[in-house]
Symmetry: C2
Subunit: 399 residues, 2 copies
């Protein structure tokens, strides 16, 4: 029987969790720091978060940079890099969701990048993964999270989109893991329904990309993954019905952090195929990230069902309560119940819902071919998903 | 309904997990460091761990200090403090179980302690908790764990026994959390059965002291706690039958770290009553720590059953599969099944098994009175367990 992979787990972010905790910001950033506060389109000015941050930092030296969009753009981030250099910024405070935090991570590295073109920090079509720049310096980051979804508040990853080349690419750096993240569930009270649903689906797929992999008898990672999924399933209808249910908000916020701080990945393989294919769709037409995952996951799971069988069976038994039937039936049940759950909270799971028709399949496959060339290997936990496999996966998705 | 407590979670220890990982030591300690390697009675020389450590650090500057015992003694640790000062040690490497790691944490703080008597670092009968010294300096620590049990490899706590005054006392310091911990499940292959069983019970009680508290709808902490318990219950018979089952060893080792790195404590109350009463018994007669927990837990859970009802019911339903019956019946079932599990792996659960008879009850209660005076509050999650309550708890334990 396979056993757990050796692993390194290093998650030094200090989490400050709970209602009214934004005021603690002042103790977490050195008094003398020159801070750049980075945020998005300004929703934090409507829900009170901006005022709480400014109040907490009223004796600090704070500059601001706003305008980070969903699928954060290289073209925007690079403007903040100029400010960091010019103003000798020595602390970055991201206030927002995963897009703001991801952009901040890029800005952190790019501000100290010694090369000519900061785009070369990312793995892109002319920049192979194996030759990737390894940073030794970065501006320290703290975050105030307002959207539970990406896990970026407690991990090393960031994904950046370049508008001009229509590329959406990601990388990881231990250097950019936030020093602290403040998670006040009340900040999520005012989220639009669409973002709540997107966040739940994104978190859910983060879990399945670690949990639904080769069975390695990793009892802690498996049970924890099931705990995160179970929490998302039970709390989603609660927050959708009552946006100010503190318990449910807190449970979803903590679940989404746990979904991708790599804890549930300890000892197991990682299958990023759903995310990779989803990223290409977003790069093509700016679809919501989570919607692309919901549109693609079914195809990936069916295509890889035999390799994921044992875990799909576990999921069917433990999450969806199916104790009877063959392994095949249980695996099919796990997949169909997952789709059913997404639909039940108002998430569509069809390719057409993210603007993809049959005639677009080839472009997606061609894009994946570019990506696999950049990476030097295929998608998925076995690194064996290439262009032709992607075409087959897309055929297995709902049209 | 109660909601989750605000919390801070900060667990920066880098975990390096897996077979043959001790060789990675060399990359984790600065080349120029003057290292004091601290270990116990020498079992690491028999099972190969000592050789692996020395080989990994052959180009480092390493001194050694051995002789740390179970329930590590102040009188021993203080000798290592002298060495640290005299030799300007700037890195401490603990190689062993929780006792070695706890002693190392004390040595780390004591070596930089500006006061006269390092015993005053600890809360003791002449040193109230509220007046406790708050260190600002400590020697950095790394660990090579060989006994899964205490969780000390990834937490801030340490417990020290002073032989001369028969006191066993603990404290926490963020400063002493290990920089890294190497967890190679193979190091536990050669553990005597008694230590395997002790470790499983200690870990189990770490979980129940967080999980079996006031219900606060903390879904992640609850599910994770259940995952740890479930892992201990399912893997214990496997390792007892086949000591070289890598998967089971790995699962138990990771479970015991998760049991007390405070992750499952996020948002919930903490009830250390079983540990506190157990510590007094060990201080009196040097009983194995875990055996005292097994002897005392039943009394604590019965005495606090009404306050812990909702969690005991959850435990009965989710861990022990009891779906029928009243809450009272389920709670009783959770307690009796826990005792049954301990017995099934060869752990006795009577006071007499740790040398305690009825005539000793008063001494234990008097000791707890001293402790509650030092702390400034009672034991347990509600801080309401005092001397008289302890007498009642002991009456509820099996004689």
């Amino acid at each position: 029987m396979l056993t757990c992979n050796n692993f390194v787990f290093h998650s030094p972010t200090k989490i400050i969790f709970g209602a009214k905790t934004i005021s603690q910001l002042k103790n977490e950033i050195p008094q003398k720091a020159k801070i750049l506060m980075i945020y998005g389109s300004g929703s934090i000015k409507k829900n009170g978060v901006y005022d709480q941050v400014k109040e907490a930092l009223k004796e600090h030296n704070v500059m601001e940079f706003s305008g980070i969009t969903p699928n954060p753009r290289y073209e925007t981030a690079i403007k903040a890099v100029e400010i960091c250099k010019k103003e000798n910024i020595d602390f970055l405070l991201a206030v927002g969701g995963g897009s703001v935090i991801d952009a901040t991570k890029f800005i952190s590295i790019a501000s100290k990048y010694p090369g000519k073109d900061p785009w070369d920090i990312m793995p892109h079509k002319n920049n192979q993964l194996k030759n990737l720049f390894q940073p030794t310096e970065a501006i320290p980051i703290g975050t105030v999270l307002t959207i539970p979804a990406t896990g970026s508040e407690m991990n090393t990853g960031y994904v950046i989109t370049r508008e001009s080349t229509k590329e959406k690419v990601g990388r990881i750096d231990q250097l950019v893991i936030p020093k602290f993240s403040i998670l006040d569930p009340e900040t999520s009270y005012s989220l639009p329904k669409r973002q709540i649903i997107n966040g739940i689906v994104d978190s859910f797929v983060h879990v399945t990309e670690q949990y639904l992999t080769t069975f390695r008898n990793t009892k802690i990672s498996d049970r924890f993954a099931e705990g995160v999924i179970d929490t998302l399933i039970s709390e989603a209808p609660v927050v959708l019905k009552n946006p100010k249910d503190y318990s449910a908000r807190a449970n979803i916020m903590w679940a989404s952090t746990m979904a991708l701080n790599r804890l549930i990945g300890c000892g197991v393989d990682f299958d990023g195929a759903t995310h990779s294919i989803g990223h290409e769709i977003t790069a093509m037409n700016d679809s919501d990230h989570a919607k692309t995952l919901a549109a693609v996951i079914k195809g990936v799971l069916i295509y890889k069902k035999q390799q994921k069988m044992k875990k799909l069976v576990l999921m069917a038994e433990r999450i969806y309560g199916k104790k009877e039937g063959t392994d095949e039936e249980k695996a099919d049940f796990a997949i169909s119940e997952t789709i059913k759950f997404f639909n039940s909270i108002g998430m569509k799971t069809t390719l057409s819902s993210v603007g993809i028709k049959k005639e677009n399949f080839q472009e997606i496959a061609d894009r994946i071919e570019e990506r696999t060339k950049t990476m030097g290997f295929g998608l998925g936990e076995h690194r064996d998903i290439y262009k032709d496999d992607v075409l087959k996966i897309l055929e297995l998705c709902d049209p």
